[in-house]
Amino acid sequence: MNMAPLVDGSLVVLILAVAIWTIAVRDSFAAVVGYAIYGLMLALAWVRLAAIDAALTEAAIGGGLTGVLLIRAAVRLRPTESVVAGDSPAWFVKALAAVLAGAVSLALAVVVLTLPEPAPTLAPQVAEHIASTGLGNAVTAVLLAFRATDTLLEAVVLVFALIAVWSLAPDRFWGGRPGQHYHLEANGMLAYLARLLPPLGIVVAIYVFWVGADLPGGKFQAGTLLAAMWLLAIMAGLTDVPEVRLVWVRIALVTGSAVFLIIGFAGVPFAGAFLAYPEGYAKPLILIIEAASMLSIAVTLALLVLGPPERRGQS
């Protein structure tokens, strides 16, 4: 007896139910908590689609970090909620929106059912060339060799987004510390967790990074874990956010992209193209890029969650 259909069917039903619920429920706080749950369920769907790398990313970023971000926002916006909720549209607007959204879904469903057989795929090409990268994980090979440009630009996206977030700081707080100040409750629950979990998280993160070359995992998942651990320590009040004017913070942000660019340009004389790796050196170079990126991603993600500077620096 095969239980896969049962698992898949229930999973799809649950995902859709929670998704509809996060849209329908009145209370925003409940909706964002629901969204975090939804992210975790979606990660299970990714496992069922044999995309463990995506599952890890979805669980860490989709469920975890996005959840934290939205929950914090929901708490801060709670007082305004009833006011804005009064702007709810008329029933016929809702009906029209439902019909149109349904039409889009229907069209997509038809497209899904008519996708060509056999499905086009680049898997054979990846398999053919993966040996030259020395990597065992095809997803990592795509991210850091075949489509390294996307990955480089994505690191740039994170930096741009952070610059954009920082640009929102009120002038008087420019250069100061992001987010509110968190008081340490020495015997509190959060401090309890924040003392125990981060060291374990660091070991797991480095594990995820290290096996990423050959098994599911890599710098994004590892960086996200590190960011989560740092955030935990900050929110428990065990440590404070650095001021955004500090040079080491800025250097930490761009190190990943800078190393990526330098190795990329070194590829021009040594491997014949920008972002190419010399024969036999691909794997160590990729690991160097990933290690640098992991740290930059961790710092950037954590600072993105914390938001623009809201406090003046101490000095």
């Binding site: 125990l196 981060p198 660091i202 594990y207």
Partner: protein, 162 residues
């Protein structure tokens, strides 16, 4: 000073074992594992400076079967209520006077009790822990007291070495 060194050694050994459990044995992996264990230990010493008062992790493991059973009951309890068409809930708050002083032991107790049927710690009021309950008609306080006693049996406050 020596307590810091010994704590560092013990902790880095634990982290390294954790690493090996994750990845298995291999020389190159062990090198990276040393880096991982080193940084984990450094962070751990910063976040949790060694003090004489500690929770015994080994003793905690002994409590595991009891908690597993409790969490099975808790899941069943929720499922029963969720599927019942009448939605039999009488939610409310209960204040429980904990015998433990604020600190690790109390936090451990609170964490464990969150896995028990019908209770969810959601704040503190002086010496009391405020629990949110699914059904205030149940004998919540008695349950909690029994749980705390079981925990105290296994853990001696202030003498751990973990």
């Amino acid at each position: 000073m020596s307590s810091v060194v010994s704590a560092a050694l013990v902790r880095s050994a634990i982290f390294l074992m954790f690493w090996v459990a994750l990845i298995g044995f291999s020389f190159s992996a062990l090198l990276v594992g040393c880096v991982a264990a080193g940084s984990a230990t450094w962070v751990s010493l910063r976040l949790l400076p060694p003090t004489p008062q500690r929770v015994r992790l080994g003793a905690l493991v002994l409590l595991l079967p009891r908690f597993l059973w409790q969490s099975l009951l808790a899941g069943w309890d929720v499922a029963r209520r969720a599927f019942d068409p009448r939605l039999p809930l009488r939610p409310g708050f209960v204040a429980f006077r904990s015998a433990h002083a604020p600190g690790h032991l109390r936090n451990t107790f609170a964490t464990i009790s969150s896995l028990m049927p019908g209770t969810l710690p959601c704040g503190e009021d002086g010496n009391d822990i405020i629990f949110h309950c699914l059904d205030v008609g149940q004998p919540i306080l008695e349950q909690l007291a029994a749980e705390e006693k079981a925990l105290a049996h296994v853990l001696d406050e202030g003498t751990g070495d973990g």
